[in-house]
């Protein structure tokens, strides 16, 4: 089976090689797989994501989407068939919720009726209320805006979705709810998803597989279980300590409550 996205030994340098954002990254995202990319800021996560729809071009190595080298693809067409949830969401402030959601279908030339039907469908799908369709982004709460961002990414029925810290700015309750809602959509729609996060707990709870990045390299990858249990050395273990300890304390609390 061809991978949805395949990074093969990809490097990216800026300013004539003085800044190295990515350093020989290889990573496959299988069809219908949900991969989380975790790492500190400046580790090259966003750059990696931008290579997928050619918002950035690699200095060396190849990126393939559904088996085809992206360099052979028209970047505009490529972007229209890959859903992208941007860091900070990047909703268009002068467009209503409905117009934001319908923007890629509009670019693809869908007629107004089809767009309207799709907007209603997505508003239900991301669990917004239909009255919000006519509102502007500034009239929404943070959580609602994130849901619009997800709906916009899904509007043109992409098979691949990439998300750059999509739920980063939310309070824990909203974050958990939207995360689970998205995971449900991922399964239901048969998507392939790459999600960037700096929150290991979120990655562990949502992803099928996690890639850990540091200084432009993927230093470890595996299922949440593999990363939680195995020994991977310094930074990875450090990252895994927090969710592991949280889980232990939680289960201890639960046990005590059960015994009481």
């Amino acid at each position: 089976m061809t991978a949805a996205i395949a990074f093969d030994n990809v490097s990216k340098t800026y300013e004539d090689g003085r800044v190295r954002a990515l350093d020989g990254v290889s990573l496959d995202v299988a069809e219908r797989e949900f991969v989380a990319v975790v790492g500190p800021s400046g580790s090259g996560k966003t750059t990696l994501l931008q290579l997928v729809n050619r918002l950035a071009e690699p200095t060396s190595g190849t990126v393939a989407v559904e088996g085809a080298d992206v360099r052979a693809a028209d970047p505009i067409a490529l972007r229209r068939r890959i859903g992208y949830v941007f860091q900070g969401i990047g909703l268009f402030p002068h467009m209503t919720v409905a117009e934001n959601i319908a923007v890629t279908p509009r670019l693809l030339g869908w007629d107004a009726r089809r767009r309207a039907a799709r907007v209603e469908e997505l508003i239900d799908l991301v669990r917004l209320s239909r009255e919000q369709a006519a509102r502007y982004p500034h009239q929404l709460s943070g959580g609602e805006r994130q849901r619009v961002g997800v709906a916009r990414a899904l509007a043109a029925k992409p098979r691949i979705v990439v998300m750059d810290e999509p739920f980063g700015a939310l309070d824990p309750i909203n974050r958990d709810a939207i995360g689970r809602d998205y995971r449900h959509l991922h399964d239901e729609l048969g998507l392939s998803t790459v999600m960037i996060t700096h929150d290991m707990l979120e990655a562990v709870l949502l992803a099928d597989r996690i890639a850990v990045m540091q200084a432009g390299r993927v230093i470890a990858q595996g299922t949440p279980h593999e990363l939680m249990t195995g020994a991977h050395g310094g930074y990875v273990d450090e990252l895994m300590t927090t969710p592991r300890r949280q889980a232990e304390r939680l289960s201890a609390l639960m046990d005590r409550g059960a015994r009481a």
Binding site: R79, G90, F92, H94
Partner: protein, 519 residues
């Protein structure tokens, strides 16, 4: 005369449709042209720092040129271009009035639009621009669907600034022959008709404010998607433009254009010529407040058909002669020179001079027994002379001193307004005056004779454009003016036309009645 202020206000209102229409036409055209050039330039340069720097520097440079100078510079420039196109590609256009005004004002309007459009586009949140690309927009789609809409409030603020500047600066297009609300201001300043000056300022300000507010309403409508507000703003603008242009467009095209320079006497004489043409059954309009340098070229180019100039002015400025000849000789030479150099026809002298002269109160002159400048020479060492700021530097003064050996005890410079009261009050003994100035009669002064012909004669002469030189109907209508206006009539007319008492047209009618009486 009707007295009070009802006269000038009614006069100003009567002129409003024509002036306002021309003002709106020139402003709107200039603004549209400016936008057409500066918006694409701004969009093109928004993401090209080098080009942006050059453009903004150039636009700022234009802005530092005073509006009046910028407008004045475009006239000779276009005149040159017009001469070239007429010669090589047989394309003739008028370099006077509308075209230079529009070009200069359009240039003037560019800076705010350029700067605000660039600022607006550069200021769009990079995350939003990234999102526009990421959802699959082409750069053009990103510009049209995201960047321009988001920059719109800043761009509109620039357009509003431009509109206000252009409407204000358009008042300065009067001296290059474009009728505008500035005609009130220039006429008013020259004839000391402050009602006219205020009326012109108020009308221009009201127009600028109205346009600014309507643009603001449109901007608000576009931003908040209130279609009614956008439509209301647009409707208001359309109404202003249509309302202002309707009388201009509906008016039949005048057959003749009468020119006038920037002082009272010229306004009165232009009105008189217009009335004589009307009496002969011809429609005519006036182009008033033309700069002294502009008006002769305009006549030669046929942009105006007739105006009154002065023999000495042509002699010195056009023929570049610096010798002084008797009155009749200058007239004959000027007439011959005009005919031979471009074919301007001199119909004749009106009968009075508007020259520099030395004047004294009648009482003082009689007491000293002075009738001519020659008589003055004997007393000069004990007398004080006052002149305007220019007089003592002019060749006339040097010529007078040389010819008569004049040496005054004191020479004082002062404003013409103060010179006349000063000589009347005995503060000074002699002043430099214009021979047709109304204040000579008002203060009972006498003009000293110049037996040695040291002062260049400045006979008022009626000039007709080359292509009208064979127009019998025009010449027949104007010939009755030749030799019909003596200096005392002109002085009285100038006095009557100064201040808010009577309009140049009213004074011109009175003048013709006086001319008829003498027949």
């Amino acid at each position: 005369m009707n007295g009070g202020y009802a006269g000038p206000v009614a006069d100003a209102l009567r002129l409003l449709p024509g002036y306002l229409g021309s003002h709106v036409l020139v402003s709107v055209t200039a603004l549209a042209l400016g936008l057409l050039v500066s918006l694409p330039l701004a969009i093109l340069s928004a993401h090209r720092p080098a080009l942006r720097g050059v453009l903004l520097a150039a636009a700022s440079l234009v802005q530092t040129v005073p509006g009046l100078a910028l407008l004045a510079l475009f006239y000779p420039l276009l005149l040159g271009v017009a001469a070239l196109t007429a010669r090589y590609i047989d394309l003739k256009f008028s370099a006077l009035g509308f075209l230079p005004s529009v070009l200069a004002l359009a240039l003037y309007s560019m800076l705010p639009v350029l700067r605000n459009t660039v600022t607006g586009l550069v200021g769009v949140d990079p995350a939003v621009k990234q999102a526009a690309l990421g959802v699959g927009m082409t750069p053009r789609q990103s510009l049209v669907m995201v960047e321009l809409p988001l920059a719109l409030p800043v761009i509109m603020a620039g357009i509003r600034t431009s509109a206000v500047w252009v409407i204000g600066t358009a008042t300065l297009s009067t001296p290059i022959g474009q009728a505008s609300l500035g005609n009130y201001i220039f006429t008013g300043l020259q004839t000391q008709n402050w009602v006219f000056v205020l009326f012109g300022c108020a009308a221009a300000a009201a127009l600028a404010l109205a346009v600014d507010q309507l643009l603001a309403l449109m901007e608000n409508g576009v931003r908040t998607r209130a279609r009614a507000r956008t439509a209301l703003g647009a409707l208001g603008l359309v109404l202003i433009v249509a309302g202002a242009l309707a009388p201009t467009l509906a008016r039949p095209h005048a057959r003749y254009v009468v020119g006038a320079k920037t002082f009272t006497e010229q306004y009165v004489l232009a009105a008189l010529i217009e009335q004589r043409l009307a009496a002969a059954g011809f429609s005519a309009t006036r182009r008033e407040g033309l700069g002294s340098n502009v008006i002769f070229d305009a006549l030669k180019a046929g942009d105006i058909d007739v105006y009154v100039d002065y023999s000495g002015t042509i002699w010195a400025n056009q023929m570049h002669r610096d010798d002084v000849r008797p009155r009749e000789e200058v007239l004959a030479d000027v007439k011959a020179w005009l005919a031979g150099n471009g074919g301007v026809a001199m119909l004749g002298a009106l009968g009075f001079e508007n020259a520099y002269a030395l004047a004294m109160t009648r009482a003082r002159a009689q007491a000293l027994g002075i009738r001519s400048i020659a008589d003055l020479a004997a007393h000069a060492a004990t007398l004080t002379i006052a002149g305007d700021y220019e007089f003592f530097a002019r060749p006339e003064w040097a010529a007078i001193r040389r010819a008569y050996g004049l040496n005054f005890a004191r020479e004082r410079q002062m404003q013409p307004e103060f010179m006349y009261p000063a000589v009347a009050a005995g503060e000074v003994d002699v002043i430099s005056a214009y021979t047709s100035d109304g204040r000579i009669a008002q203060h009972d002064l006498i003009v000293l004779a110049d037996p040695k012909h040291a002062i260049l004669p400045y006979d008022a002469i009626l000039l007709v454009a080359p292509q009208r030189a064979g127009d019998r109907a025009l010449i027949d209508a104007l010939m009755p003016l030749v030799g019909a206006i003596d200096v005392s009539l002109m002085r009285e007319a100038n006095l009557r036309a100064t201040g808010a008492g009577a309009s140049p047209a009213q004074v011109a009618r009175w003048m013709w009645e006086e001319v008829e009486k003498k027949k």
